[in-house]
Symmetry: C2
Subunit: 112 residues, 2 copies
Amino acid sequence: MIGMTATGTIVCCTEVGPALAGRDAERIATVFKALGDPTRVKLLSLIAASDAGELCVCDLTEPVGLSQPTVSHHMKVLVDAGLVHREQRGRWAYYRPTTEVLEDATRTLIDS
Amino acid sequence: MIGMTATGTIVCCTEVGPALAGRDAERIATVFKALGDPTRVKLLSLIAASDAGELCVCDLTEPVGLSQPTVSHHMKVLVDAGLVHREQRGRWAYYRPTTEVLEDATRTLIDS
DNA sequence: ACTTCAGATCGACACATGTCAATATGACGG
DNA sequence: CCGTCATATTGACATGTGTCGATCTGAAGT
């Protein structure tokens, strides 16, 4: 926006609405940051596209071509961001996507 | 998924659909990574919420409390990700959000 | 042309992040 | 209980990232 001071100088800056609160911005950034890595994008898409709607780590290491600890680490990031839900059944850990979190983050970012 | 080998051993892993192609995953990750920082979340929300639908750098430094070079750097990241459009008018550079990119990334991630 | 002003780029620094091998944990089967 | 299997955690390392001060680039105005 272009305005003008009392002396006639053209200025650009005008007052602007308040930014998102710091905590909100950090919460939203955490969600997006979790998806800011190609490996985690692949992992989530694999789970979302699976027939059963859930997969365990052993299903995931081979498609992404990374070691088991690395996949485990990435899954923890996705869980901490609230993007997937972890359920232990016997020896295996099953992961299922929770799509609302991504939708909420996007809405909060755009609407407010 | 739980299956069983010819010898009767219970196994977990079954074949699974192919992951997103590497380039698609990287393209999507670039978009989300750009939003994976609280400062950039604030910047985009400030622009999206502004009355004119666009803002210049001088409007943005004060709300986020960072130096001009740092804000400039963050805006470049957002532009490179395709999340905002940059237009030079006179001395000022105006930024406007391009929401389709975020929607597309989300859709590609979830649907395929 | 010289100055001023908005914004971008550069160089440097501290800190975060992705990766792996090695090890720990915890569940199941014999 | 003892071994095995699936997964998590730890420690280490290279690379990436956010930030700033200093400087460069261009556009107006005088």
